[in-house]
């Protein structure tokens, strides 16, 4: 069942079309990635879904609530991490969390205190809870902003660049948390990111948008397949000779064989990874080759993204 349904969402700023008839659906517990270059319309899309700005055309439902009819109900069930951490620097971390907890109707004193402590401890900020946010590093602010987005335990999260400004260790913590939230706690996450590594690791589906328009939508595998006609494998060998190369080339479904002398390896383009790989290995072994390792070669999501974005230009 779709928890977010977007249908022809459009946003104009005078003559500029920031978002142009975007449509997608997100299932409950899914991490959906919105990828695109700067100015593609990602933040505008999130702002419309969070009822911060109204669409010029089209419609969207968030957990069954229409965004233009019931904005307060939508805001209550959504946690949002904006482009800027949006934290009150003269307030302490704890005061920031308290304010937003109450703003999101978490008024029970016990529950509120427990939730704030749980989140601040998770993000290693508990020791600094009484320090003013102005004294925090960029990474600490980003973690606090993420904790704030989670304070009311929202079923839906809109995260705009959640790992921006974080060191590798903190970025991993955030990725782990997103994984945990979606897989175990069934939170639905709409993730805007430039970090294709984040999208590749976390998103079950991604949509690439450019100049406000949807370029492509699908699983990371589907996107990769879009830019490659045939799969390929790399086989590392003890040594290579012409007998081995010929043995591989004579297989019907092998289209291309590239030889690398040092280290000895063959890059083979074939018709079907599962069907053809055993036959290739068998022929190499029969030709006297010693196979050290076999690796399926797939383009990264980054390669797919760059190629697909370029195609639109």
């Amino acid at each position: 069942m779709s928890i977010i349904e977007v249908d022809g969402l459009t946003k104009f700023y005078n003559s500029l079309v920031a978002v142009d008839h975007i449509s997608f659906k997100i299932k409950e517990g899914e991490v959906f990635g919105l990828l695109g270059p700067n100015g593609a319309g990602k933040t505008t899309t999130i702002r419309m879904l969070a009822c911060l700005i109204s669409p010029s055309a089209g419609s969207a439902r968030v957990s069954g609530y229409k965004i233009n009819e019931n904005p307060l109900a939508v805001r209550e069930i959504v946690g949002i991490l904006t482009e800027n951490p949006s934290l009150y620097e003269r307030l302490s971390a704890h005061e920031n969390m308290e304010f937003f907890a109450e703003a999101y109707n978490l008024s029970d004193l016990d529950k509120k205190s427990r939730r704030i402590r749980e989140l601040l401890e998770y993000f290693d900020l508990w020791e600094r809870k009484n320090d003013k946010v102005a004294t925090f590093s960029k990474g600490m602010k980003q973690k606090l902003a993420l904790a704030r987005a989670l304070v009311h335990n929202p079923p839906i999260l809109f995260l705009d660049e959640p790992t921006a400004g974080l060191d590798p260790e903190s970025a991993k913590e955030v990725r782990d948390l997103m994984y945990l939230l979606s897989r175990r706690e069934k939170h639905t996450i709409l993730l805007c990111t430039h970090h294709l590594e984040d999208a590749e690791r976390l998103c079950s589906r991604v949509m690439i948008i450019n100049k406000g328009k949807s370029v492509v939508c699908g699983t990371p595998d589907e996107l990769r397949n879009k830019i490659t006609n045939n799969p390929s494998i790399q086989i590392n060998l003890k040594k290579i000779d012409t007998k081995i190369i010929e043995a591989v080339k004579k297989i019907d479904h092998v289209f291309q064989v590239d030889v690398n002398e040092s280290p000895c390896s063959l890059k083979i383009v074939l018709s079907d990874l599962n069907e053809d790989t055993p036959a290739v290995i068998k022929n190499i072994v029969e030709a006297g080759g010693l196979v050290l390792s076999v690796k399926a070669l797939q383009p990264s999501l980054e390669e797919a993204y760059l190629k697909l974005i370029k195609e639109v230009h």
């Binding site: 911060l52 700005i53 949006s86 304010f99």
Partner: protein
Amino acid sequence: MRFNKAMLVFRKDWIEICRNWQVLMPIIVVPLIFSVVLPLVLTLIPSVTISQGGSLGELEVFIENLPIHIEEQLRNFSEPQIMVYIMAVYFLAPLFLIIPLMASSVIASDSFAGEKERKTIEALLATPISDEELFFGKMLVSFIPSMIVTIISFIVYSIIFDIMTFNLFNGMILLPNIDWILLIFGLAPTLALASIGLTVMISVRVKGFREAQQISVLLLIPILALVFGQISGAFILGPYVILALVILFSIIDFVVFRVGVKLFNREEVLSKLT
């Protein structure tokens, strides 16, 4: 409207203001001048002027316009007494209305414009706090401190004035009188609310705090009109005039709040993010 949500916005902003000297200083300094320095000057200078052969001069016109019972009361006063009485009780009365306006204009200008400048507005607008609650909370945070400052200034002013004039008026306590009580507890809050509402509306529409404050200075013009109106004798801020103004400004407050909420647009606020 949920009052607790408006109070939540108030509390958050209140803590921020208490930690910001740039905002606190004008709120403290202006009332200090009004409530301490002015009564001292106004009670000392007339005594010196008249003792050196000066006269009431143009104050005669003003006295003629006073209500009959005040005029009769003044007939029993000496010239220095009349001058001090008129200067401190009448001339300063409308001038005192500047205190809540000055204090509130700093905070009200900062309400939305400051949040935009500090880039904290987006997360606030994303919360399930309604437009009404947000607008009212922002008005409260300007209104409450400015009224506290005004009332404290009034108390200090009255004490200093009464001490300074104790001998001159042979032990007569002049302040507070009914005009001043109506002025401070009736006209000042209603006038401040109208000004705050308008300033918050300006703050929604501009990019930064300074821009909002520059525009909101224009709101002092009606007060200056009251000051000059009273000094020139065009009208006297007696109890009935003050009550009429309280009713007028209460209506204006209601209209400003409704219009302010109606015109409040989260999208417009975000579009002004620097």
